[in-house]
Symmetry: C2
Subunit: 327 residues, 2 copies
C-alpha cells in the first residue's frame, strides 16, 4: 500500500480550499426512485467541475515544496488536464497536456482556457501518455501521471476523509473506477477510518480493464474502450495501483452504457445536477442491482460534470409525458 494516512491528512493543507469540504447529503427523491437511501458527495461545483483538483493540488504543492521543476506535463482525457492547468496557473508553473485528438472537445477547450499548452495525438489515453513521457524527457518538465503518482491518489483520498465524517451508518460507498486514483484514495481513507464500510468500485462494461484485473489478481488484456464515460476509459492497468486497490476495495462491478445514461438522467432530475457519464457510475450500479442495495444506505461520489452541451441534450434531455407548470 503506497498511500499514507498522515500524508492524506497533510494533503488537506496542500489543496486550494475551493476543492475541499464539498456537499454531502442524502438525496431523498433519488432514494425513493432507487429503493435505498442515497448520499451524494458532490465534486462538480468548483472551477474545474471535477474532483481532480484535489490530486493535482497535492502534487503541485509537493513539487514546489520540494524545489522541483517549474513545469509539468500530463496525459489526460480532460479532467486531470484542467485541474493541472488550474493549479499551474495559480503557481506560475507551466502546464502541457497531451490528449487524444478524439478527446471531449469541451474539456480540451477548458484546458486551453486555463492556460495549458494542449498537444493532441492520435490514439487513446495510452498513446497520449507515451507522448507526455517523451515531452518530459526532452524538456525536463515533471511528468504527472494519474494514479501512478501517489499524490493524485492521496489528494483524492481527502474525499474519503470527508465521507468518513458523515453522521449515521453507511452500508456501501460506490466509487467510479478508471485508472484507480479516486477509488484507491477513497477506499484507503474509508478503510483507515471506517473499516466496516464496504467500498464498491464501478466501471463501464465497455472499459473494464481494472475491474477484470481486480478479479483476476493481475492485469488482463482488454480491447479499446468503447464507453461514453471518457473520464474512466483506460485500457491498461498500473500494477502498483492494482495492488493498492486490491487492499482497500471489497467489490467491483460493471455497468452498461444504458444504465449510465439512465443514472445521468436521474441525477439531473432529482439533484438538479449535470454529471458526466463517469460521475454517474455509482447510481448506474444501483439501477442494475436494486435487490442488492434495497433498503440500505449507499454513498456515491459524483466525480465530474464536464459534458458538452450537445451531449447533455442527447443524454439527459428527452421528451417527458407530463405537462409543464407555470404560475
Amino acid at each position: 500500500m503506497r498511500l499514507d494516512l498522515e500524508r492524506v491528512r497533510l494533503a488537506r493543507n496542500q489543496i486550494d480550499p475551493v476543492f475541499l469540504d464539498t456537499p454531502q447529503y442524502e438525496c431523498e427523491p433519488l432514494g425513493q426512485v432507487l429503493g435505498c437511501r442515497v448520499v451524494l458527495k458532490v465534486e462538480t461545483l468548483n472551477p474545474v467541475r471535477s474532483f481532480k483538483g484535489r490530486g493535482t493540488e497535492t502534487v503541485l504543492t509537493r513539487l514546489l515544496d520540494g524545489g522541483g521543476a517549474r513545469s509539468v506535463v500530463c496525459a489526460s482525457a480532460g479532467n486531470l488536464g484542467q485541474a493541472l492547468a488550474y493549479g499551474g496557473r495559480a503557481r506560475g508553473v507551466g502546464v502541457t497536456v497531451v490528449a487524444s485528438a478524439r478527446a471531449n472537445p469541451l474539456k480540451v477547450e477548458r484546458m486551453r482556457a486555463l492556460g495549458a499548452d494542449v498537444v493532441l495525438v492520435d490514439g487513446e489515453i495510452e498513446e497520449a501518455l507515451d507522448t507526455a513521457a517523451r515531452i518530459a524527457a526532452r524538456t525536463g518538465a515533471r511528468l504527472v501521471e494519474d494514479s501512478r503518482d501517489v499524490g493524485t491518489c492521496e489528494g483524492a483520498a481527502t474525499i474519503g476523509l470527508e465521507l468518513a465524517e458523515l453522521p449515521g451508518a453507511l452500508d456501501a460507498v460506490l466509487v467510479s473506477l478508471g485508472a484507480g486514483a479516486l477509488a484507491s484514495g477513497v477506499g484507503f481513507a474509508l478503510k483507515s477510518l471506517r473499516p466496516g464500510v464496504p467500498v464498491v468500485c464501478v466501471q463501464p462494461e465497455q472499459a473494464p480493464a481494472m475491474t477484470l484485473a481486480l478479479r483476476a489478481g493481475a492485469p488482463v488484456e482488454v480491447g479499446v474502450p468503447r464507453t461514453i464515460a471518457d473520464g474512466v476509459a483506460g485500457r491498461y492497468v498500473i500494477p502498483e495501483v492494482l495492488a493498492d486497490l486490491s487492499a482497500v476495495v471489497d467489490d467491483a462491478v460493471l455497468v452498461a452504457e444504458d444504465s449510465i445514461v439512465a443514472a445521468m438522467r436521474l441525477l439531473h432530475e432529482h439533484a438538479g445536477l449535470v454529471v458526466e457519464p463517469a460521475g454517474a457510475l455509482g447510481v448506474a450500479a444501483v439501477l442494475e442491482d436494486r435487490a442488492r442495495f434495497e433498503g440500505t444506505t449507499v454513498g456515491t461520489v459524483l466525480c465530474g460534470s464536464n459534458v458538452a452541451p450537445a451531449d447533455v441534450d442527447r443524454w439527459v434531455h428527452a421528451p417527458r409525458p407530463t405537462a409543464g407548470w407555470s404560475h
Copy 2:
C-alpha cells in the same frame, strides 16, 4: 435594524451543518460569456434544494431552546415549507404548510414527502398567510413567517458570513429579492464585515413590490405577481423588513422574464446546475446591464433549485445548433 451580528454568528451553531459552508467559486466560463468575473454561491446541493434551511433551522432551534411550541405552521410558495418540514421532522416538531393551490407541484410534493401537513388555499401567498395565521391562533402552533421572523433573516445572513471570507475583491454581490429575508440577511452580514462591497437586490419586473418600496421609501401598491420566479413572487411588503433592507442595500434592479430564462440556461450550461427562476436573478441582472458590470467581479447567490422536470424541459432545454460528441 433588527438583525444582530452576534446572533448571526450563533446561528451557525443552530443550523444543521448540511446547509452550511456551501460551494463558492469563480465560474470562469460563465464570466467569459457575461464579460465579468462571476463568483457563484451555490445553495442548491442540500436536502431541500434551497437556502431556506438556514433560516428554518435557526427558527426551530431557537423555538425549542426557548421551550416553545412543539408544532409550527407557515405559508410558503414551497421552499420555506420544505425547509421547515425537514427541520421539524428531525426535531419531532409537527409542521403544517399552507400553500396556494397554484403553487409549484414539485414543491408541494416534496413538502408532503418530508412529512408536512399541506393545506392548499385559493389565492396567492398572502391568502395562504392569512390561513396560516388562523391555524396558529386555533391550534397554538407557532407561526413561522418568512422575513418577518428575524430568525429567517439571521439564518440567511450566515450566507453573508461565508461570502465575506472569499479571498479577493468583490465589486458587487447580487441577491435575489422576494420578501427580503435573503437580501437583508446577506446584506447585513456583508455591511458588517465587508462594508465596501455594494449589495444589489434583483427582483422580477413582474413581482416588483419590494423594489418599488425601496425606491419610494414606503410600500407601494402593485398588482398580482406574474412571474415564473415563484420563490420571490410576493405582493405585499413587511415594513420592518423594508427598514432592514433599506439600511443594508445599495441598489435594487428589476429583470424581465426572458432574462431569467436566459440566465437559467447559462447556469445550466456553464455550471452544470439546474436553478429555479428565483435563483437565476443575479445572472439575469448582469445580462440586462452588461456595461455596468463589465470587467468587475460579482458574486451571486444561487438560492434554489426546485423546478418541475417539465419546466426544466421548457425553460432550460432547447435545440442547439452544434453536433454532439461521443468517444
